[in-house]
């Protein structure tokens, strides 16, 4: 595992971008592009990432970037890969699809499922900020239970769908779950994915100060607490072989270091959450965590 001190200095993400202060996208994107050494083309649907990339004629990222319509990310990556093969340029670059949780798990899931079933040759990275942030924080299928959004004023009532599990069910060669606040975990997983052919899916939890209502200085602290609470779990399933990674691997031995109650107390979006809902979510988290431990053990 790469140590944080050994991560490459080269950055393809320029110092200025249009994201909010404290946005987790930049931390993640910097490692993703570095892991691919810039030898890539990325495709991006409507999302905060589009805004991050800049407005014509100024761009914040020094890698080829193809903007596409909101539902179409996985098909767009399919077309890039097919076009590069057809024109003899496939060896020159890795195709990266990068989309939000809404673009991936809701409106884009059909294209993603199709591409996964066909095992198209690209990396799909979903950055999960747990709502439609670009349009001002509406619920997505990945918004956690209890979170208030502008379409769930009383707090969302359902748990999020488990997208990495959905992708595993497609039998793609590589599925991973990571968090933008663990740069070395993101980096290692993208490096690993880069060497694999076929559809590689990486799910990256990405704290969002604006949508979650917390102080931008706390992005990393909150992201880490989500992992310590077992709400976000770092793992990978390479060719079906499951293993916990990084901090989650440590927690498997040491036990979870935070509770759902600790975590929700840090964010304005959970303000109205009742003790009962918190207990329900805790039970849901505990059951999931137990299943991960079983899988990790072998």
């Amino acid at each position: 595992m790469t140590k944080i001190i050994d991560l490459p200095d080269t950055s393809y993400v320029l110092p200025g971008n249009r994201a909010c202060a404290g946005c987790g996208i930049g931390i993640g994107l910097r490692q993703i592009t570095a892991a691919l050494e810039g030898q890539m083309v990325m495709t991006v649907p409507a999302s905060c990432l589009t805004v991050f990339g800049g407005m014509y004629p100024i761009s914040s990222v020094e890698v080829p970037w193809v903007n596409v319509a909101f539902p179409s990310t996985a098909a767009a990556a399919t077309g890039l890969a097919a076009g590069l093969r057809a024109t003899g340029k496939a060896d020159k670059m890795t195709v990266l699809a990068m989309a939000g949780d809404g673009g991936t798990g809701d409106i884009g899931i059909q294209a993603l499922s199709g591409a996964a079933e066909r095992n198209e040759d690209f990396i799909y990275l979903c950055y999960d900020n747990e709502a439609y942030m670009n349009t001002g924080t509406q619920r997505s299928g990945l918004t956690p239970s209890g979170a208030r959004t502008t379409t769930t004023w009383a707090g969302k009532r359902e748990n999020p769908k488990d997208l990495p599990a959905i992708m595993e069910a497609h039998n793609v060669p590589y599925v991973a779950s990571t968090s933008a606040v663990f740069p070395e975990d993101v980096y290692d997983k993208v490096v690993k994915a880069r060497a694999i052919h076929g559809l590689r899916y990486i799910h990256m939890n990405t704290p969002c100060p604006s949508g979650w209502s917390f102080d931008p200085k706390d992005t990393v602290r909150l992201g880490k607490m989500a992992v310590d609470a077992g709400i976000v779990v770092l793992y990978e399933a390479a060719a079906g072989e499951f293993r916990l990674t990084g901090r989650s691997k440590t927690l498997a031995k040491a036990g979870l270091q935070a509770t759902v109650a600790d975590y929700v107390a840090t964010q304005g979006r959970f303000k109205g959450m009742t003790a009962e809902t918190i207990a329900d979510v805790q039970a849901w988290v505990d059951a999931r965590w137990a299943r991960y431990l079983v899988r990790d053990a072998g």
Binding site: T43, G54, M55, P64, W65, N67, S72, G83, K89, R118
Partner: protein, 405 residues
């Protein structure tokens, strides 16, 4: 099929479209089946599978994805092809706009079919007419030879102008009707169609952000140079479409030098010279109108046909010139702008508005959802229009042919 010789054969319209895509040496094909387009996809898939066509064939899960794959494959420099009909075209509408706005030279065949609801798989032109404003060139074909020739021409036009082209042909009436077609040789097509040179750069050594958010106003780049805003981008797109008014006839003329076949460029005509009554339509109904015009002539009416080959761009000047001094233009639309009138009829009226020698324009709606259109009905419609004109009528509601309410 050997590619080295010109071959005379018989084929259905869908096979003509697939054959053209093959001759154009398309590199990426992505399509999703829908009646009556399906056999285009099946044919191309079989050729890719057998190795006869060295291309990527992507079996996407939807039309939205079919056109998306074409969009990004074209962005990296591949020549691409897709085809669809009706609900498939509607389903990909978001990407129809994207393809045009991104200025990608995609060629898409449309086997024209009625829109649901209610379900109907038969022919009219409501599908492609409904996306006439999306910024694509739209060419309508009369027969299967024209489908083949136009699809090849479409690549040349698209790649010159960086504008996508829809090649529209009537479902079943052409897509599934077998007729004689001359297949050009690979040499002929190669001579006509140089390899695709993309404008888009996808290269890690020269990174670009393609299709980013573009503001209303021009904006300076990092060097302080002012770059286009959204409105300038759209004005350039319109310029390209209007430029097609020259590119389309030129592409047709050069094709004719190679093959001896010429399709009229923007419009085509039959017995138009001295015609006082002009029957106007796009697609295969135009062929029926030629028979109707001949019958009207036997009846003593100086009738002729003006066919629309290029519906977008709309050949305003050509239509004005060809219709100046006529008494009546009767437009047969196989589509409707609900709450208004047939799209070609409305566009023609707009084109002729204020022209000193413009004819009276009447509309007729025919063939919706595959309702049979006979020459006899076309004739009757013409006679009704002529009678109305004789009664001093200059404006009237569309005449719906063969309607039984």
């Amino acid at each position: 099929m050997s590619d080295t010789a010109i071959k005379r054969t018989v084929m259905a319209g869908n096979e003509a479209a697939a054959t053209a895509a093959k001759l154009a040496r398309v590199q990426v094909i992505a399509a999703y089946p829908i009646t009556p387009q399906t056999s285009v996809v099946e044919q191309l898939s079989a050729w890719v599978e057998s190795g006869e066509l060295p291309a990527e064939f992507v079996t996407v899960e939807s039309e939205h994805s079919a056109l998306t794959v074409c969009i990004t494959a074209s962005t990296v420099g591949a020549r691409v092809f897709t085809a669809t009909s009706a609900n498939g075209l509607a389903y990909m509408t978001e990407q129809v706009w994207w393809a045009a706005g991104a200025r990608l030279p995609i060629v898409m065949c449309i086997a024209n079919r009625a829109m649901a609801a209610p379900w109907n798989v038969l022919n009219d032109q409501q599908d492609s007419m409904s996306v006439r404003d999306a910024g694509w060139i739209q060419l309508y074909c009369r027969d299967n030879q024209e489908i083949l020739d136009t699809t090849i021409q479409a690549y040349r036009i698209a790649e010159q102008l960086h504008v996508p082209v829809m090649v529209c042909y009537d479902g079943f009436l052409l897509s599934h009707t077998v007729m004689p077609v001359e297949v050009p040789s690979a040499e002929q097509v190669d001579a006509y169609l140089p390899p695709y040179e993309p404008l888009t750069v996808v290269d890690p050594d020269d990174p670009r952000n393609i299709g980013p958010v573009t503001l209303a106003d021009p904006r300076a780049n990092a060097d302080g140079v002012s770059c286009h805003g959204y409105m300038e981008v759209r004005a350039l797109h319109q310029q390209a479409l209007l430029g097609a008014l020259e590119t389309i006839p030129a592409a047709d003329a050069e094709w004719s030098e190679l093959t001896g076949r010429e399709w009229g460029g923007l419009t085509w005509e039959h017995l138009l010279d001295d015609a006082e009554v002009v029957l106007v339509a796009a697609g295969s109904v135009g062929m029926q109108l030629t028979v109707a015009a001949e019958a009207l002539r036997e009846q003593g009416v100086k009738a002729g046909v003006l066919g629309i080959r290029s519906y977008r761009p709309f050949p305003v000047d050509a239509l004005r010139g060809k219709l100046a001094g006529r008494k009546l233009a009767l437009v047969f639309d196989k589509a409707l702008s609900y709450g208004n009138e047939g799209p070609i009829c409305g566009d023609l009226k707009a084109a002729l508005y204020g022209q000193p020698e413009a004819p009276v324009v009447f509309g007729a709606v025919c063939g919706l959802g595959g309702r049979d259109v006979t020459v006899e009905q076309l004739n009757d419609a013409a006679n009704r229009a002529i009678a109305d004109l004789a009664d001093g009528v200059t404006d009237r509601a569309a005449d719906w042919l063969n309607l039984h309410l």
